[in-house]
């Protein structure tokens, strides 16, 4: 029996969208924490740390996200780490996010005028306080538009999890398309769901950017 693409089917897609949002949020939070470490390493005094962070960033920026996800999902079990698909995808996306956010925030940190660091150090503040109290608040504000922009990409990137069999919005759409034979309607609905998640973020990012520009 062929089902119509009706309300229950739409609901199924929306259920999937819940996972899309959760996955994006998890990847962003975990990737953000790691990305902060990457950004600090990238701007550290130690040449080894800087070099290591540069390589790390290049790896995640220079390879497709799908390969990164495959690598975690299929690669880590070979190293003896059994991961369920959720954990694997979350880790994969978080690593991916950490590379990008690390690079975005590196730029923000370096955009804070050198005089700020000098003034903080001249007061006798240590590295921790110089960073936490003086540099990062300014750096993150500078980086906010780019950070939100990346978050939009991350939301769309979670669609690749469908290829690993995780039932987020895209895979939910595939399943519904298979049973309704109405791919156009189904994928339009799925597209709209992504759009509804991303549009507010994009608008917010644009607003932040305008506000930053106005402040000079």
């Amino acid at each position: 029996m062929i089902r119509e693409f009706g309300f229950p089917e739409l609901l199924f897609v929306l259920e999937g969208a819940r996972w899309t949002i959760l996955l994006s949020a998890l990847a962003f939070v975990c990737g953000g924490a790691l990305g902060l470490a990457v950004a600090l390493a990238r701007t550290a005094r130690s040449r080894e740390l800087r070099w290591g962070a540069t390589v790390y960033i290049q790896i995640f920026q220079g390879t497709p996200l799908l390969i990164q996800l495959f690598f975690v999902f299929f690669g880590l079990p070979l190293l003896g780490l059994q991961l369920n698909v959720w954990l694997a995808v979350t880790i994969g996306l978080a690593l991916h996010a950490s590379g990008y956010l690390g690079e975005i925030w590196r730029g923000g940190i370096q955009a804070v005028p050198a005089g700020q660091v000098e003034a903080a150090r001249a007061l006798g503040l240590g590295y921790r306080s110089v960073m936490i109290d003086v540099v990062l608040p300014q750096a993150l504000r500078i980086s906010l538009p780019a950070t939100v922009g990346f978050l939009v990409n991350l939301v769309k990137g979670t669609a690749l999890a469908a290829l690993l069999g995780l039932t987020e919005a895209t895979r939910a759409g595939q399943l519904m398309s298979n049973i309704t034979f109405e791919p156009l309607r189904v994928y339009s609905a799925v597209g709209l769901v992504y759009f509804a998640i991303c549009l507010p973020l994009t608008l917010w990012s644009a607003r932040l950017e305008r506000r930053l520009l106005r402040r000079g």
């Binding site: 005089g115 000098e118 240590g126 109290d133």
Partner: protein, 255 residues
């Protein structure tokens, strides 16, 4: 205390290079407690570099620097300890833009002296009053004029109770009408007896508060004399290739 006999600052045979460029050449300098030094000289002569070496914002390659009798270690390990009693005021103010004037003043005492919020606020308000800015405590740097920002920067440095204050052209970035308020504040500090080294071209200020005026060129100290002497017979500075500091008393240096 044994240390109290030591001079506030002592530089012994200090040389510094930026790459191949030698910017300090065998500098010897002793600054006594309570002494006010005005440092002048042409652009690029190494004035900023010299005072930045004292709180180790710059590293020196040769020679020794002692602050209150404590030698700055080559690896910079004790730089933070030294900075805690050496305040610095910059040409560009360098206030933290995301903090109010009050918060700017409270940060370092809270983090370093580990005092509570109320005590830090009281201390900060005290110093903001001292620079006549108590009414502006809640404003952000962007809401203050240049002269006001620089006075907040002075208050911020004072909040660490420094023994020594370093000023790097504190009035050079200011509109002319704001120079006086900052110089007046500095004169008040000088009268209170704090040790200071001030890089400035404000010769009126030098006449009013300096115990010694030091003239540098190309990384060398060419002359060091009390202001009366410095402004009457300047031997080193009569070299035709060097500009003479303006001997006329300038704005706002009357104590």
């Amino acid at each position: 205390m044994e240390q109290s006999a030591a001079p506030a600052i002592r530089l012994e045979h200090v040389s510094k290079w930026f790459g191949k460029l030698k910017v300090l050449q065998d500098v010897d300098l002793t600054v006594n407690r309570g002494e006010h030094i005005v440092l002048c000289g042409p652009s690029g002569s190494g004035k900023s570099t010299l005072i930045r070496c004292i709180n180790r914002l710059e590293e020196v390659q040769e020679g020794r620097i002692l602050v209150d009798g404590v030698e700055l270690r080559g690896d910079g390990r004790n730089a933070e300890d030294i900075r805690r009693h050496v305040g610095m005021v910059f040409q560009q103010f360098n206030l933290f833009p995301h903090m109010t004037a009050l918060e700017n003043c409270m940060l370092a005492p809270r983090r370093i002296h580990r005092i509570g919020k109320d005590e830090a606020r009281a201390r900060a308000m005290g110093h903001l009053e001292r620079v006549h800015l108590a009414d502006h405590a809640q404003k952000y740097p962007a809401q203050l004029s240049g002269g006001q920002q620089q006075r907040v920067a002075i208050a911020r440095a004072l909040c660490m109770n420094p023994d020594i204050l370093l000023f790097d052209e504190p009035t050079s970035a200011l509109d002319p009408e704001m120079v006086k308020e900052v110089l007046d504040t500095m004169v008040e500090l000088a009268d209170a007896g704090i040790t200071m080294i001030c890089v400035t071209h404000e010769m009126g200020f030098a006449r009013a508060v300096a115990h010694r005026v030091i003239f540098m060129d190309r990384g060398e100290i060419l002359e060091s004399a009390p202001p009366e002497e410095f402004f009457s017979a300047p031997p080193a500075r009569t070299r035709p290739d060097l500009p003479r500091p303006d001997p006329q008393p300038l704005r706002g240096a009357s104590p």
